[in-house]
Structures are given as C-alpha cells and as structure tokens.
C-alpha cells in the first residue's frame, strides 16, 4: 500500500505516494523526476546516488524515502542555488574533474558536504571524504584539484585561460 508523503528536495516540497520500501533514490528519480542522482550499484559502494540529508551525505539508494520526510534533501540539481553554476561545479569543469559524468553528481554532493564541514581541507581530507564515490575515468586527480580550487583560499592553478562552460554552445546529441 502506498503512503502519501511530502519530500522536500532542493527547497521545494513535493507531494509523493510511496511504497514504504522505496528508496530515496527511486523516489527522487522516478516520482519527483530529478534524474541527476544516479544508480551505479546495489550496495552503497559507488556513491553515484549520493545526496545530502539535512546537510549530511547519504547513499540514497540505501535509504528509505519515507525516512526523509521532514528533512532537507539536496541533490546535484540544487547545488548551485540561484546561480547558474556554483564555484565547485565550475572548478570540476576547469580542472578536468568531469569525464563521463556519471559519478559527477555524487562527487559534487560529497565535496559540498566536505567543504561545508571543513572549508580548508588538506588533500588527504579531500581524498578521504571522496572515497565513497567511485570514479573510473579521471583517476581522481582532476576531482581533487577541483575541490582544492573551490575550497577557501583555493586558487586556480597557473595555466592557459579557460572558457566558462556557460559560454559554450550545447550539443545536440541524444
């Protein structure tokens, strides 16, 4: 039997009808329609589904949706707030922290949680905080650099000028 509930995701309240066994990930993707959070495994090992629950990271594939009622859920779609792109997102693009992009939403969420708790993380802090998010493309190098860049006092490394993503034409693939 489905249960009526209200989930607050990225500051917006959504009325939903959920099976009590539904995971938070399923509820957000299938019922609310925010597909930025991904499903990459069955057992909280990959982190592609990472969301924030009252500011704390959670593997949403392994968290019951109904438990999130009354709590603030944040997904990748909510990270930039009113901005088009947040500093962290921009840094991921500039530092080569994005390749296939499937781990990116979860990575960004974990990095956001880290920078909230620890605005000046060491590289070791960054690496530990992102270890619940598997990336197969980047070797993590660009991701660690991006989080460093977005942290307090972080500076973009020397290098060629880069184009801001929001000035780049969209593609028409898919």
């Amino acid at each position: 039997m489905k249960v009526t509930a209200t989930l607050t995701v990225n500051g917006t309240a959504y009325p939903v009808e959920l099976d009590p066994h539904a995971s938070l990930l399923r509820a957000v993707r299938d019922e609310i329609g925010l597909t930025g959070s991904k499903e990459g495994c069955d057992d909280s090992e990959c982190g592609a589904c990472m969301m924030l629950l009252d500011g704390k990271p959670v593997n949403s594939c392994s968290y019951l949706a109904l438990q999130a009622e009354g709590r603030a859920v944040t997904t990748v779609e909510g990270l930039a707030g009113e901005e088009e792109l947040g500093e962290l997102q921009r840094a991921f693009l500039h530092q080569g922290g994005v390749q296939c992009g499937f781990c990116t939403p979860g990575m960004l969420v974990s990095a956001t949680a880290l920078l909230h708790d620890n605005p000046e993380p060491s590289d070791e802090d960054i690496r530990i905080a992102l270890s619940g998010n598997l990336c197969r493309c980047t070797g993590y190098d660009g991701i660690v650099r991006a989080v460093r860049q977005a942290s307090v006092g972080g500076v973009a490394p020397l290098g060629a000028a880069v184009h801001h993503a929001d000035t780049v034409a969209p593609h028409h693939g898919g």
Binding site: P20, D43, P57, N59, S62, L66, S131
Partner: protein, 299 residues
C-alpha cells in the same frame, strides 16, 4: 501482507511499533543494503526510530559513557572523551565504510546487526560495554559479550529495542587501539581485525583485553592472549606471545576476501600492532586516530 511504515518520535511509539512486529530502522545502512544485496527481504512492517530524541546523545554518567542508540560513527570519532579515553572506538568508527556510512550509520544499528566484522564491536567488547534492551514490558541490561550469539543473531527478542550502549571509562594509564587489515584505505569491511585495551602501571601491564574481529562467528575476547600479556612489561616477547595466542585462537573462514591460512597469519600481525599501539598510548606515546592507516608498514 503489504508494507507499512511509521516514523516514531517518542520511545513509547517506537516500542509499541516494535511490539506489534515492526522492524526498527535508523540510518538504514545495514538493513536496506542487506535487502538490496538479497541477504534478506526488507521487513513488511518498518518503524523509523531516527527521530526519537531519547535515543540521541552521548552522556558521561557515573564513570561511564552512555551512547544513545542513534549516535553515529561520525559523532563518536568527534567526541573528545571517546578519542581520549576510549580511543579504540574512535579508531574503529573512523574507518567504517565511507563518509556517508559514518554520517548515517548508528551504533545501535551496528551492534544489533551482530556482524562478526563490525569494526566498533571489538573495542566495545574490550571496554566491557553493556547494552540496554527495552520493550513495552520493561528493560534489561546485557553484557555485550552475551548479546551476540551468531553472525546476525542476538539474544534480543523481536519486541526489544536497543536504547543505549554503556561503556565504562577505563582506569588511568589505559591505552587502546583497534587495527584492521586494510586492502584499501577506505570502503573496507574488516577481513581481520584486532582490539587491545591495556592498562600500564609503573611499567607493568596490570590489565589487558584483546579481541578479534572477523576471525570467529562472533567478535570475542581471547583470554589466552590476555594471559600472555598481563603481568609482563609489555616488551616485544610478551607482545609476540599475545599475538601468537590470538592467532591460535582464531577460527577464520576461507572466502573471496582471504584464505583461512592468511587470515590466521594476519590475526597475529593485527594483534601485535593493536597491542603495541595500545601500550604506546597507555604510556603517553602518540598514535594517530585511526590507528590502522597510520600503522601501515609497521613491523
């Protein structure tokens, strides 16, 4: 039967739901993952207990630290008393799963999951922790050593809820450490783990507790190893004897994570490192928290 879900806000609500057959869920890190892996289907009736205020918080009561069932690993690692007096618990909680596991996973859920690989289990056991099990009929206090009966099994009845874990603070001069074999630095499950709690008075080891993790059906203390160390000066020979006794008492399985032969050999290594770190800490030396990564490369 269709699934039901209630979210309790008071202990009474939670207990009556459990009494009616509901299964309690807090952080969900074991229950939901287990269901997704196909170990056991999610129970039809679920009661969420994560909003029960009475189950929160860490309190220092009568020489013991009382941990509410909802205390997370993250909170344990951050707690000053845990870090200073119950350091092995901090060692363990700091290396559970990932940052998300540590943020959501609770000590109550972790204890009741009764996994022989529970990282904080060995430290709690060695510190002589007791748990409070409560039902609508009343409550009882159980030694942790008596709680676990088999992998995934406890003596708790289905209508009982773990409400708190009481950990007596050890005597002055006590140091502790939890060390596990780590294939990776994060996202690991214990394949071999060892805990040591050692009290040193004027160069003599006056009290010692040693426990093994993932080396027997339940986490358990090794009296033979403790006997090999107590009364000694904690020198290399005594530590080696305790470590050898630990390995000898281990009854590991062979599986994809390692052969029984390897695990037995590693029981000795982990016990040696745990005891050495505990002695270092007991005698004023410094071993970073968590001890495991810091000890990589040690003898």
């Amino acid at each position: 039967m269709t699934a039901t879900f209630v979210s309790a806000t008071t202990l009474e609500e939670a207990l009556s739901a459990v009494a009616a057959g509901a299964r309690a869920v807090a952080g969900g890190t074991d229950l939901v993952v287990g269901a997704r892996q196909g170990k056991a289907a999610l129970p039809d009736a679920i009661v969420a207990i994560d909003r029960v205020e009475a189950l929160r918080g860490i309190a220092n009561v009568d020489g013991a630290l009382v941990l509410g069932a909802l205390v997370t690993h993250e909170a344990l690692v951050a707690d000053t008393t845990v870090r200073e007096r119950l350091t092995a618990i901090a060692d363990a909680s700091a290396i559970v799963g990932s940052h998300a596991t540590r943020a959501q996973g609770t000590i109550g859920g972790n204890v009741m999951n009764a996994s022989p690989a529970m990282d904080a289990g060995g430290p709690l056991l060695c510190f002589g922790a007791t748990v409070t099990l409560r039902s609508t009929a009343g409550e009882r206090s159980i030694d942790l050593a008596d709680l676990w009966t088999a992998p995934g099994r406890t003596i708790a009845t289905p209508d009982e809820l773990l409400t708190s874990v009481r950990v007596p603070l050890p005597a002055a001069g006590t140091g502790s450490a939890y060390v596990r074999l780590e294939y990776r630095r994060q996202m690991e499950i214990a394949v071999v783990g060892a805990t040591a709690v050692v009290t040193v008075v004027e160069g003599q080891i006056t009290d010692v507790r040693i426990a093994i993790t993932a080396l027997s059906p339940t986490i358990r203390r090794i009296p033979e190893a403790e006997a090999a160390l107590v009364g000694t000066d904690g020198g290399d020979a005594a530590v080696a004897a305790a470590a050898a006794a630990t390995a000898a008492a281990s009854t590991p399985i062979s599986d994809v994570r390692g052969s029984a032969t390897y695990r037995t050999a590693m029981a000795e290594v982990m016990a040696r490192r745990a005891v050495a770190s505990a002695i270092t800490r007991a005698t004023g030396g410094s071993v970073p928290i968590p001890a495991s990564p810091a000890l990589h490369g040690a003898k």
